[in-house]
């Protein structure tokens, strides 16, 4: 297997899918000549030319809309939003159009579109450039939502997303682009909707996705040295969500912590916890915990930004809260 970065894995996925299917094209701000604000589309303009790698004006609504319109008549656009923060200008096209056109047309249309966007904080970009909006998209029927944490999944899930006949919101993370991992030489894809157990454990389940998987794994490692065995599950796809894997894990661990970089209120974790308290009520030995970003617009100052984001320590604390509970109950019994 080759070692490559998350960025390179994404680049390969696009390149290979564009080679495979002439209807696949890439459109977005500075994706061509500039090769992407985060250089994810490096070399694509050169290989595929300006017909298939399209630089746009700064017009998010029309970029999304043009992608959708082309998908309505059979093309398979990959729309790059420079960051998810700018998708706020395209919400009408994404939610009122891409997500609903198939239904409103009684099934006549399909919208095979991937909207890729980096999200997340950690680079001191301030409140308007550090958002995580995945739960907004989870809330919208008609969309799928993908959020890979490794180069392997980035490539495999992007391929599946491009091949999918539905609008897929594909989240990337600015701080993952440079992360390396193993990626097979041969063609492969990762199916949408299947979570992955990144680390087995019996004491507590830590559920996460995107960059927070690394925080979860770091916390799990620290916990191990303290005798706590955490199972770490990487959701990979957020919609549809692989609840079965979570329930399976809970049956074993009876405790759960969700770690998300998004805000807690009505975030992805809220849905996971709300679903599991129903699906796995009898298996729960303690309240499930949510670790998320502080509910403030993201500050610029480094110390404050760091304080706002989930950390390994905050995950460890949450794990201990789920365990303390057991201790308490055990004492009482």
């Amino acid at each position: 297997m080759a070692q490559m970065t998350y960025r390179q894995a994404l680049n390969q996925a696009m390149r290979e899918e564009m080679q495979r299917d002439p209807d696949v094209y890439l459109i977005g701000e500075d994706v061509g000549e500039y090769e992407g604000a985060y250089k994810v589309s490096e070399g694509l303009l050169q290989e595929f030319g300006p017909k298939r790698v399209i630089d746009t004006p700064i017009s998010e609504e029309a970029i999304a809309g043009a992608g959708i319109g082309s998908a309505m008549v059979g093309l398979r656009p990959i729309v790059e939003m420079m960051t998810i923060n700018f998708a706020l200008l395209a919400m009408d096209q994404i939610v009122n159009h891409a997500a609903k056109l198939r239904y409103m047309s009684g099934g006549q249309l399909k919208i095979p579109l991937v909207l890729r966007a980096p999200q997340g904080a950690g680079m001191q970009l301030g409140a308007q450039h550090s958002q995580n909006l995945e739960s907004w998209f989870l809330h919208v029927p008609g969309l799928k939502v993908v959020a890979p944490s490794t180069p392997y999944d980035a490539k495999g899930l992007l391929k599946s997303s491009i091949r999918d006949d539905n609008p897929v919101i594909f989240f990337e993370h600015e701080l993952l682009y440079g992360v390396k991992g193993e990626v097979p030489e041969e063609d492969y894809s990762v199916p949408l909707g299947v979570a992955e157990v990144r680390r087995a454990g019996s004491d507590v389940t830590i559920v996460s996705y995107l960059r927070m998987v690394n925080i979860a794994l770091g916390a799990a490692k620290a916990l191990e040295s303290q005798g706590v065995e955490a199972e770490v599950i990487d959701l990979r796809t957020l919609k549809p969500m692989d609840l079965d894997t979570l329930v399976g894990s809970l049956k074993k661990t009876h405790r759960l912590v969700v770690v998300e970089e998004d805000y807690k209120t009505c975030g992805t974790g809220s849905e996971i916890v709300a679903s599991l308290q129903k699906e796995a009520f009898d298996y729960l030995d303690a309240p499930m915990e949510r670790v998320a970003t502080a509910e403030v617009p993201m500050p610029y100052a480094k110390n404050l930004e760091r304080a706002a984001l989930p950390s390994e320590q905050s995950v460890i604390d949450a794990v201990y809260r789920t365990l303390a509970r057991e201790t308490y109950q055990l004492t009482r019994v």
């Binding site: 094209y25 017909k51 399209i54 746009t56 004006p57 017009s59 609504e61 029309a62 999304a64 809309g65 043009a66 992608g67 959708i68 319109g69 082309s70 998908a71 309505m72 008549v73 059979g74 093309l75 656009p77 009408d92 096209q93 009122n96 159009h97 056109l101 198939r102 239904y103 409103m104 047309s105 009684g106 099934g107 006549q108 249309l109 399909k110 919208i111 095979p112 029927p141 008609g142 799928k144 006949d165 539905n166």
Partner: protein
């Protein structure tokens, strides 16, 4: 254009008029729900522009689109069934008045967000050039849409990229209760498109042949030279914005004045010699029965079963 073609255009205008009259009636009877935006008064625009297209061209409208769907060849039975919310409707009853889709005729909706169809049309134009065909895209919307950001971004794109898109603004003088001059810094709508380096013009939207002529010219440019165009069709809606609109923002006199320019009546007069009084009478009757059949069809059609609620969300 030969005689037959003109008579066919006339037939379509009568069809639309009668269809919309009947739809209004059915709405009052509670057979149709939701919002119903009638096209009465604007028939010349849909028929003039759409009659000039080839079957493989794309058409996209807004929420006042029954007339456009019909002009494009959608079966009146299925349009009515859609309004009735039946399984036989164009969109299986899931779309309703605002969301008619007929892919068989390359009619791509039926969109309820003001201006929302404009970027989609740009995308279709992009697809045409991508595939290197000579199709064109015709996109209808109202005067109100001109003030949306989507208008601006779309016009810039089609001009910058030379997309074969014809944007047809049906300036019917009002966006709901707001007169054009109260919403647009330049009341001559076509002038609002003059800062994107594309062809613009204003045409009499009550004159179907003028519309047809503008369409022919625009289509020629778009097909051969990939030149987009913005056309303002000056027209009027006789009825309220929707069935719920009391219409207090305009006078009876104003409405009467516009009615004297009625596009169907005017076309009929201009066709004298070509279209005899008997022909007109015969068309009238034919259309009456087409509409009656449509209502009957819609009424007899089944609703979708409750399970169908969950169909068509994902492909």
């Amino acid at each position: 254009m030969d005689k037959q073609e003109k008579i066919e255009m006339y037939r379509q205008m009568v069809l639309i008029r009668k269809f919309e009259d009947k739809a209004g009636e059915m709405y009052m009877q509670g057979k149709i729900g939701g919002f119903l935006h009638l096209y009465i008064g604007q028939e010349a625009v849909a028929v003039g522009f759409i009659s000039a297209l080839r079957p493989d061209d794309y058409v996209i409208g807004a929420y006042r689109e029954h007339g456009q769907a019909l002009a494009r060849g959608a079966d009146p039975k299925r349009v009515m069934a859609e309004l009735f919310g039946r399984s036989t409707g164009l969109s299986r009853g899931k779309g309703g008045s605002m969301h008619m889709f007929d892919l068989e005729h390359n009619f791509l909706g039926g969109h309820g967000i003001v201006g929302g169809g404009m970027p989609l049309a740009a995308g279709m134009g992009l697809a045409v050039n991508y595939r290197e065909t000579d199709q064109v895209v015709t996109c209808f919307f109202g005067d109100g849409a001109v003030n949306e950001g989507a208008f601006h971004e779309s016009l810039n794109l089609v001009s910058l990229w030379n997309l074969p898109v014809i944007y047809v603004c049906e300036n019917n003088q009002y966006g709901m209760g707001t007169a054009v001059a109260r919403a647009s810094s330049l009341p001559e709508i076509f002038r609002r498109a003059q800062c994107y380096d594309l062809d613009t013009e204003s045409v009499d939207g009550m004159d179907v042949l003028a519309c047809r002529d503008a369409a022919d010219r625009a289509i020629r440019r778009a097909r051969k030279e990939k030149a987009p165009r913005f056309i303002e069709a000056v027209t009027y809606r006789y009825r309220g914005h929707s069935m719920a609109d009391p219409g207090t923002y305009r006078t009876k006199e104003e409405i009467e004045e516009w009615r004297t320019k009625d596009p169907i009546e005017r076309f009929r007069q201009s066709l004298e010699g070509t279209l005899t009084a008997e022909d007109a009478q015969r068309i009238e009757e034919e259309m009456n029965s087409v509409i009656a059949e449509a209502v009957e069809f819609a009424d007899k059609s089944e609703e979708l079963p409750a399970e169908a609620l969950y169909e068509d969300v994902y492909a």
